[in-house]
């Protein structure tokens, strides 16, 4: 057996908001190609953890290392350019632009880098980028809505589009904050299938999810967060059997 290759290492991270210890002594290692789920009750600090990883919030102490590069202190756009994309809990999309343009913009960021002054080129001539975006929209089942203004989509569709915006960048690490919240059962299942498909392509994922059906059908590893601390981690079976988890979160009802 080869030694597992850790791509993301959250090392001894603390995050305080005034008196609130939102993250306490977090140590998390995510292995290449794996899907690592983070579960926990509301307010446990799950989104805060992702915010620290992508540079939205600086940790109070500790650091985050991605593939040998220290992320802490870098700007969000630099972190993205290293290959990390995120789906937010409340969709962050370009509400006034068309669905197609929403997906083309991240593809251009991937191709052209953080800044390019291409004033005289026509967006219409970006046929390769456009084709890629249309293909991506087909993958998430939104091709028929490509000309709609993104702001007028349903919550579930916004989420799927945001997923497409992330996937088109072929990130090495994809962070998903409740990607199926607000989706119908049917769309949830489509999304699970899609996430399984990209897993087969070797993309590493950190996924926050309340829906245990989603978690147990996708995750290789699960970490349970409660009140800012990791109270348990391991394989799905280990976590399912852990009495501390039963008590803090699963409550028996979900499992």
């Amino acid at each position: 057996m080869t030694t597992p290759n850790v791509v993301l290492h959250v090392a001894d991270v603390h995050k305080r908001f005034g008196g609130l210890h939102a993250l306490a002594d977090i140590d998390l290692q995510v292995e290449e190609g794996q899907t690592h789920a983070i579960i926990g009750p509301n307010g446990a600090g799950k989104s805060t953890l992702l915010n620290v990883i992508i540079g939205k919030l600086p940790p109070s102490s500790g650091q985050v290392v991605f593939d040998g590069a220290v992320l802490t202190g870098r700007k969000p756009y630099q972190i993205n350019q290293l290959g990390i994309a995120r789906v937010f809990q409340t969709p962050e999309i370009f509400a006034d632009l068309s669905v197609l343009h929403n997906v083309m913009i991240p593809a251009l960021a991937k191709r052209d880098g953080a800044f390019k002054l291409n004033l005289m080129r026509s967006l219409d001539s970006e046929t390769a980028i456009r084709a890629e975006a249309e293909h991506m929209l087909e993958d998430v089942g939104m091709h028929s809505r490509r000309e709609m203004t993104a702001g007028s989509l349903s919550r579930g569709d916004k989420r799927r589009m945001e997923l497409a915006m992330c996937l088109i960048q072929h990130p090495r690490l994809l962070l998903l904050d409740e990607p199926t919240a607000g989706m119908s059962r049917h769309d949830t299942n489509t999304t699970i299938e899609l996430l399984k498909k990209i897993k087969a392509r070797g993309m590493t994922k950190v996924i926050i999810e309340h829906d245990m059906h989603v978690v147990f059908s996708l995750a290789d590893k699960i970490s349970v967060l409660a009140q800012g601390r990791i109270i348990a981690d391991g394989t799905p079976d280990q976590v399912r059997g852990n009495p501390k988890v039963q008590e803090a979160y699963l409550g028996g009802a979900h499992a």
Binding site: Y77, N80, I93, G113, N118
Partner: protein, 382 residues
């Protein structure tokens, strides 16, 4: 690089035709004289450039008159020091206002929203005050910077060219008075429009729209938004400098009042009135405001008395007293009122009105789109 799409090409050709034929179709409106038409061109360039920053990127600058004024000063200095030819003056003005915009933009863009607006306003007012005080050697203070017979004009002197009488700007030795001046400015408006059209339709333009729509998402998508906003700021500053320089070509006198906050506010009004984010809207806004400014500011009490002459004396006096507040010097009051009405009832400006009316027509026709097919929403830039 591919040729323009058919729609873009049609828009461009239509726009160019409308501009070049203005001396004809403006006749029924009594506005077909060169002096006013030139101002139409100049302020349309100003507004088109302003729209690249405000309309596309969403950053509302309240200090763009500073770049306009700097363009005027730079052009007059070029007339004084280099040559009476307009081309070096325009080039010099665009470069100087671009550098000026780079400095002010670099600092102002450290903030966004209302703080950005306040910073630009503060810088413009500073420029305005400096022009009257410390910088009088450059600006000639309240008198304004003008051409004199004793100007050095090194380039002209080098080729042995000297002017007789009061020096006036020229183009390759040709006078730019009257309609020649109009067509000169019209050419630049068409060029300015073309560039704005290209920028709007470019990936760069799409990034600006992305920044306006959701700057956070742009950052997490891997874009460094700072150089994008700064580039938009500098480009719109250069447009303003070009407009200011053209004003100096038609009337080679630069005064600091061009930098005053009312002038900055005016270009904001033009853009919003016509429709921010659209290509044609700012042009229409500029034309309307300059047209009505021309009419309203010419009206005085005696004109009003004649207008209300059919009423009994006392009543007429009352009407005159009220309406006179809105004309002449009070033109800004009218402008303010129109602006309030537009923002409240038609926030997308005149272009939104046009779209709504077009929408009514489309709906009254039997629908050709199958039910359930997504209706294409109007895009901000067209």
């Amino acid at each position: 690089m591919r040729a323009m799409s058919r729609n873009d090409l049609l828009l461009f050709l239509g726009f160019s035709a409308a501009v070049l034929l203005m001396p004809i179709w403006m006749q029924p409106f009594g506005a077909a004289y060169p002096d006013l038409l030139q101002r139409f061109m100049i302020f349309a360039i100003f507004a088109v450039g302003f729209n690249i920053l405000f309309g596309l990127t969403g950053y509302l600058s309240f200090g763009h008159a500073a770049f306009f004024g700097v363009g005027s000063y730079a052009a007059v200095w070029s007339f004084k020091l280099l040559s009476l030819d307009a081309i070096p003056a325009l080039v010099f003005a665009i470069v100087v206002s671009g550098v000026f915009a780079l400095l002010i933009g670099y600092v102002s863009l450290r903030r966004s929203g209302i703080y950005f607006s306040i910073l630009t306003l503060a810088f413009a007012q500073m420029s305005y005050n400096l022009a009257y005080s410390v910088l009088t050697p450059i600006t000639n203070g309240e008198t304004g910077l003008q051409l004199t017979l004793s100007d050095a004009r090194h380039l002209d002197a080098a080729i042995g060219q000297s002017s007789v009488g009061q020096p006036v700007p020229t183009l390759l030795g040709q006078s730019l008075g009257g309609f020649a001046g109009f067509y000169f400015c019209a050419g630049f408006l068409i060029l300015a429009f073309f560039l704005a059209q290209r920028i709007t339709g470019s990936p760069f333009g799409m990034m600006l729209k992305g920044i306006k729509s959701n700057q956070t998402r742009m950052n997490y998508t891997g874009f460094n938004t700072k150089p994008y906003t700064l580039a938009a700021f500098v480009i719109s500053g250069m447009y303003a400098g070009l407009a200011g320089a053209l004003l100096a070509v038609t009337d080679p006198l630069a005064g600091a009042e061009r930098m005053q906050w009312t002038a900055s506010g005016e270009v904001v009004l033009m853009t919003i009135l016509g429709g921010a984010g659209t290509l044609v809207g700012p042009v229409i806004g500029a034309w309307l405001i300059k047209y009505f400014e021309n009419i309203f500011s010419a009206i005085n009490d005696s004109v009003l008395h004649r207008f209300f002459g059919f009423l009994p004396d006392g009543v007429a006096d009352g009407f005159v007293a009220v309406t006179s507040k809105f004309v002449g010097e009070g033109w800004f009051l009218t402008l303010g009122l129109v602006f309030v009405l537009i923002v409240v009832f038609l926030p997308g400006g005149i272009m939104e009105g046009v779209r709504r009316i077009a929408g009514l027509f489309n709906r009254s026709r039997p629908s050709t789109t199958a039910p359930g097919k997504p209706v294409r929403q109007p895009q901000p830039a067209e």
